[in-house]
Each structure stands twice: as C-alpha cells, then as structure tokens.
C-alpha cells in the first residue's frame, strides 16, 4: 500500500474508552456461562414486590421464583397470578421462607421499618439478598447492617436503587467524569405527584399495614421513598456525601390523619465538591413530576427516568462551534430547545429494575460487590435519615465521620 498510514487520531484514548465502556456494559448484561438459575423468594408482595416479580418473568434464564411471602393473603393470591408465580410456594411468615433450603436468594420489599430485621435474618440464613431501598429505616440500622454484611463476604447484599442501573445513568456518571458539565455547582431534584399516595384499603383494620407510608413509625416518607434515588445517584456519581442538610415540610394538603409530610424540601451542601443539592417532593402538583438537573459551568444534564438531554452552555457551544458543518453517518440531531439527547446504544432502554436484577445475578455468581451495595446503600440511608431529622425537627443536620463506610 502506498498510502502512509499516519495516525490522525488525537483522541484515541477517549474514543476507545467510549467504545469499550459500551462493551463492558453490554457484557454485564449477558448471562454468565454455565451458571445455574438462582432460586429466588420474594418477601413482601406489595407494589414493589410484584413489580419485581413481573421483571423476573423476563429473566427466566437467570431466576426461578420459588417462594412468595406476605402476611396479607390477598396479596399472595394476586402475586400468584403473575407469570410463574403460581408455581412458587407461599408463606405468610418470612422466617419459614428463610428456613427453606430451596431458596438461594430473596428480594426484600417490605415496609421500611422492617428492612433491617428481615435483611439481618436473611443474611443469617445464608441467603443472597436484594433489599429494596431505602436500605434501612435509620442510621444505627444502616451501620449495623454494613457490619453484618461484612461478616458474610460470600453473600451478596444489593440495594434496590434501580434507576441508576439504567445504562443512561451510567452514561451520565461517565459524562460527569469526562468533564461535559465542567464544575457542577447546583443539582435540582424533584419528584412531584398530584395524589394522596394512599392505596385502597379493603377493610379499616388494614389501614396502617397497607398505607404504612403515611406513618412515621414505618416510613421515612417522601424523602425515603422518592428522593432517596436522586440522593443515592449524586453520592455514586460524584463519590461523595452531603455534609450539611437543611429541611422543611408539612402536612399541607392531605390532612387525612397521615403523619408523614405530603410536602417536603431539602437542601444539602456537598462541601468537598462545592455543590448545593435541592430536593423537593409534593403530593399536591404533578407538573414537574420527576425532575433531575445537574448544572455545571460547561453544561446541564436534564434527566428523566429513561431519557436524558445534554444542554451545553453558550461558551461550550462556541468552543465547538468553530466548524461550519459536520459530516457523519448518523447525524446528531439537536432538540428544538437546543439540547442533545443522551443515548446509550441502539437498543431501547429497559426498566432500571431489569438491569439491577441482572447485576444482582452477576454479583451473586461472581461474588462481586454490586454497584448498589451495602456501603452505598448505607450512605443513602444516612442521608435520608438526616434529611428527615432536618425536616421534622427543623434542625441543620451534619454528616458524622462514623457514617463514612468502606
């Protein structure tokens, strides 16, 4: 060949790493060879438990649902109607499920106040554990669960912050690292709904059991149930934690006997990163819905659960606007509002839980720490607990050194 094979690539490293990341991601979601199915039981068959049960129907090459547990019989009946649920043995007492030798792993999706006890018992019973978020009800439980999990290195404990398992959120984490946003100073998070957040109750005696989210004895309210996802993502993406947390809120619309606030706002300062995080949730307006905006000197990323858009700042655009035209095989199409959609490959995105359960399977088989693990779970749980303290006690809460877990 007469052509000089001069290498023109100036950014080979960047380009290659971009392609490789994608392959690694893809590899993370393919079935490991020769690994058997994980026999799994679900403890708690409410909304979340049955939601995960449905996702498991798409992962029958990795999981076999062998047990279902709930102390409300009508929930067990409903769960049995989902996919292979009918084949599963049913339990009303989770201890009995944990005693069953046929169960390798459990999904724990019970009210928040029970997370710690059930997870502790499951670890003691030798089970692999997928524990719904928020990991624990309070900080002491979080610290204790970390200790217990560390005593059992051969068991996996994964925490169900499923949204960040979406390839979209991995891509955003990578973009932050690559400097697309420049220096991030503000992060806005909302999770708003217009509705009472109540579930129908077949008979009044079951009110507290079904609507446990309304009562502080069982629940961490909107901060634990909704805002914890975004708190966890920020911790994970920036490898940080909030140092100082302010909060406020009230029962401002649904004065229906509930104890947890229907309207909350939290401000967090991440001192090391120099970031202010704003977290809000209301039950009284749905216009913003899920909102997650990361704002940096070079650009903004606006995230939905399964969509993301990058908005370069004006100066960032100028920097790259020095060409008059761009040629490419599949052209980048700008949104009408000046953003670039963040994509993660040709395949449409699946529900975050799908990726999370795949990672759980991988973590169990390869004895690897899952990306949402007991340490990150504890960090999020501590943040939520501090936020709730600030909200309910009108105090400024500070992160304590003993919460730093590795």
């Amino acid at each position: 060949m007469d052509f000089p094979r001069r290498d023109f690539l100036k950014k080979t490293g960047l380009l290659t790493s971009g392609l490789l990341l994608h392959q690694e991601l893809a590899a993370a979601f393919v079935a490991p060879v020769a690994a058997g199915k994980l026999k799994i039981g679900i403890i708690g068959c409410g909304d979340r438990g049955t939601g995960l049960l449905k996702i498991l129907q798409e992962l029958t090459d990795k999981f076999e649902v062998v047990a279902l547990c709930d102390d409300l019989p009508f929930r067990l009946t409903a769960a049995q109607k989902i996919g292979s649920g009918a084949k599963a043995k049913t339990y009303t007492d989770y201890h009995a499920l944990l005693d069953a030798r046929t169960v390798d792993a459990v999904i724990i999706s019970v009210p928040l106040n029970l997370h710690f006890q059930v997870a502790k018992d499951a670890l003691a019973a030798g089970k692999q554990v997928y524990l719904e978020k928020t990991m624990t009800y309070d900080i002491p439980q979080a610290l204790e669960l970390v200790r217990l999990a560390q005593l059992r290195p051969n068991q996996t404990l994964q925490v169900g912050h499923q949204y960040r398992y979406s390839p979209l959120y991995y891509r955003v984490k990578e973009m932050i690292k690559q400097g697309y946003l420049g220096k991030v100073t503000q992060i806005d998070c909302r999770w708003d709904r217009n509705g009472s957040w109540r579930r129908p109750v077949p008979e009044p005696s079951l009110e507290r059991k079904i609507n446990w989210r309304m009562y502080r004895e069982y629940s961490g309210g909107l901060a634990a149930e909704l805002l914890s996802h975004q708190m966890d993502f920020i911790n994970w993406a920036f490898d940080t934690h909030a140092d100082e947390i302010f909060g406020t809120g009230g029962i401002d619309y649904y004065k229906d006997g509930r104890e947890t606030y229907d309207n909350v706002q939290v401000m967090a300062r991440y001192a090391k990163e120099g970031i202010v995080g704003n977290f809000g949730a209301t039950c009284g307006n749905a216009r913003d819905g899920y909102l997650f905006k990361l704002k940096g000197t070079k650009g903004t990323i606006s995230l939905l659960v399964d969509e993301g858009v990058y908005y370069p700042e004006k100066d960032t655009l100028k920097q790259y606007g020095t060409v008059d035209g761009v040629t490419g095989a599949t052209k980048i199409t700008w949104n009408k509002d000046g953003g670039i959609p963040i994509t993660t490959g040709a395949e449409p995105l699946k529900d975050g839980s799908w990726y999370a359960l795949n990672d759980f399977y991988r973590a169990v088989n390869e004895k690897k720490l899952p990306d949402s693990n007991v340490f990150t779970g504890a960090r999020a749980a501590c943040t939520v607990h501090l936020a709730n303290h600030a909200i309910y006690n009108h105090t400024i809460e500070k992160w304590q050194p003993e919460y730093n877990l590795t």
């Binding site: 060949m1 007469d2 052509f3 000089p4 094979r5 001069r6 290498d7 023109f8 690539l9 950014k11 080979t12 960047l14 380009l15 290659t16 971009g18 392609l19 490789l20 994608h22 893809a26 393919v30 891509r171 973009m175 690559q178 697309y180 070079k298 990058y310 370069p312 960032t316 920097q319 790259y320 020095t322 060409v323 008059d324 035209g325 761009v326 040629t327 490419g328 095989a329 599949t330 052209k331 980048i332 199409t333 700008w334 670039i340 959609p341 963040i342 994509t343 993660t344 490959g345 040709a346 395949e347």
Partner: protein, 334 residues
C-alpha cells in the same frame, strides 16, 4: 427631492469596492432529519420557502415515505414508470457506481435491509438462509434500466431505494438553487451530508467541516474527529456505528452486502468521502464501507476524483484511521 438627496449621499458614502456579503442561515426538518444552509450574499436571495419548495419536489420524486411518490409508483409497478429529472440523474449515478464498485453499491438492496430489520418494521430474528436466497433473486441493479424517458425493471419484485444517496443529491440540488441566484459562497448540509463552495465573510476563510467521531454517545463536544477545509465539493460519511442490531451474541451492522445478502463484516467503522459533488460522494461512501480497508484503499488509488478518510478497528480492538493523500491536504491544522 429628499429621496434624491439620500440616494446621492448613499452613492457617495458607499465604498467603490464590492458590496459587503452577509451570512444568511436557513434551518429546518426534511427527509427525517435536519438541514442547515449558510450562504453569504448581499441580501436574502434564497428563502426558506424556496428551499421547502425544492425539498417537496424531491420528496415527490424519491421519498419512500411519501405515498404516491414516483419511486413508490415505480416499486408498485410491474414494469416501470416515466422518470422525472431527479430520478433520472440519481438512478444514472446509482447504475454507474454499481458498475464501478462491482455491485457493492446497489439501489435494489432494500428488501434485504428490510428482512434484516433495518427498515421501518421490527423483526424478531435474523432472516433464514432460505429467505435470503429467495430475496436475492429480486436484488441487483442490472435488473434496472433507464430507457428513453422511462425507468424500467426486469422483474416486478425489483424494489428501488435511493435513501442511501438521496441526501447527497438533495444538498447538490439545494446548492444549484443557490447558484441560480448567483450565490457562490455557501455550505449546505442535510443529514450529515454536505455540499460546499467558497469562503466565509468577512474573514474570507474556507469553510471548516468537522468529521463526526464514531461513538455511541451521540455527543458533540468531544466528538469531532478531524476538521477539513474545502474550497468546493461534496462531503459525505457512511458508518457502521450507532445503527446495529443484536441477536443474542451476534451483532449485525445495518449495511447489507447486496451480493451475499448478509451484513458486511469488515474492520471499517466509517468512511468519509470528498468528491466534486455530494451525489458522487454519497454513492461511493457505502460501497467503500463494504469493501473493507485494503480493497477500499486500492480502489481509491484508481479514483483520483475521490478522496477519503477511513476509521477502522485493528485486530486487537483499538481504533485507527487513515486517509488518502488528497484528503490529508484538506486537513485543517489545529
């Protein structure tokens, strides 16, 4: 009286040199993507309405998405149709490049593309060997003929798809529209295919054209691979990135070999071609992708009117690139 005074003053104040050229920009959506036109003129000689009219004319001729378009009527016809000027020009080029590339560019490949699920319809599994063989019987541009004012086919099953070169042709037509209004400095881009001529004003620099970096990220800022400066010509890119399908462990790229019926499997990731016009560049970029690196470079040695930049994957998985000497001369020093 007042008018006369202003006129006199104006003439007196105007420098005797040429009129100052200003930049005009037109943007919009067309052919399932966006277009952007920049031209330099004393006044807005071409408007969005002019562009829209021209685009509508091309769609009526060559769009597979427009019911009743000439190409759709051809595909539905058992024998053929009377061709309009657009169809004649593009099919003539398609047949010429088909010959020149030993059939690697083939405007009748669409039924195979559809069978592999890269058309509008989703497919659950790759086509069977038998299905591919059956489809191949209706594929091949030798079954396509321009006779007098007509476009005819040897078999009713022959299905024409000009999507691979229509965008290149469209930017050429829009450039001709600008030229017809005496505009000599412009850049027309549609779907990443470009036709350019002249300089920018007031800097009098050549236009700078970025070549997109193949990546799954779709993000602009770090995605510019190279920048070229070009006085006049067409620039187009064909690539195997971003558009692929996974069937279990098997990954299929969207460029299908019209001879075998299977996706091209070679080391090329993208090919950018510079040619005198965008239609020519657009017709050759796909064919070069199909050739693989070594054959593509040999082919380019025999074609002085084509300059190209190729990004490929080495056997060890790393990414590398190379270019023809003519292309290297266009590269803009940063």
């Amino acid at each position: 009286m007042l008018h006369c005074l202003f006129l006199a003053l104006g003439l007196w104040l105007l420098p005797p040199r040429e009129v100052a050229l200003r930049a005009f920009q037109l943007n919009g959506y067309a052919q399932g993507t966006t277009y952007a036109i920049t031209y330099y003129a004393a006044d807005s000689a071409v408007t969005s309405a002019d562009v829209a009219r021209q685009l509508a004319e091309i769609d009526a001729s060559m769009s597979l998405y427009q019911p009743g378009s000439l190409i759709n009527r051809f595909n539905a016809a058992p024998r053929g149709v009377v061709a309009d000027q657009h169809l004649k020009v593009v099919v003539r080029k398609a047949l010429q490049v088909y010959q020149d590339t030993d059939g690697r560019f083939d405007a009748t490949v669409e039924p195979l593309v559809r069978a592999w699920g890269f058309s509008t319809q989703h497919t659950e599994a790759p086509p069977s060997a038998a299905a591919i063989q059956a489809i191949l019987k209706g594929v091949g541009s030798e079954k396509l003929h321009l006779r007098g004012d007509s476009l005819v086919k040897d078999q009713p099953a022959v299905h024409l798809d000009l999507n691979g070169i229509a965008q290149g042709y469209t930017v050429d037509v829009l450039a001709a529209l600008l030229e017809s209004r005496h505009i000599r400095n412009y850049l027309v881009e549609l779907g990443g295919e470009i036709r350019v001529r002249g300089h920018k004003f007031p800097s009098r620099e050549l236009m700078r054209i970025g070549i997109e970096r193949p990546d799954t990220s779709d993000l602009l800022p770090t995605s510019m691979q190279q920048v070229i400066r070009l006085a006049a010509g067409g620039v187009t890119t064909s690539g195997n990135y971003r558009k692929f399908k996974r069937w279990g462990a098997v990954k299929s790229a969207h460029l299908i070999d019209p001879k075998t019926g299977y996706p091209f499997q070679n080391e090329l990731i993208s090919v950018t071609v510079v040619a005198p016009d965008a239609l020519t560049a657009d017709a050759y970029d796909n064919a070069l992708m199909g050739m693989g690196l070594t054959k593509a470079l040999t082919f380019l040695q025999r074609h002085a009117n084509l300059q190209a930049y190729l990004i490929y994957q080495r056997p060890d998985g790393t990414i590398a690139d190379t270019a023809t000497p003519g292309f290297q001369r266009l590269l803009s020093p940063e």
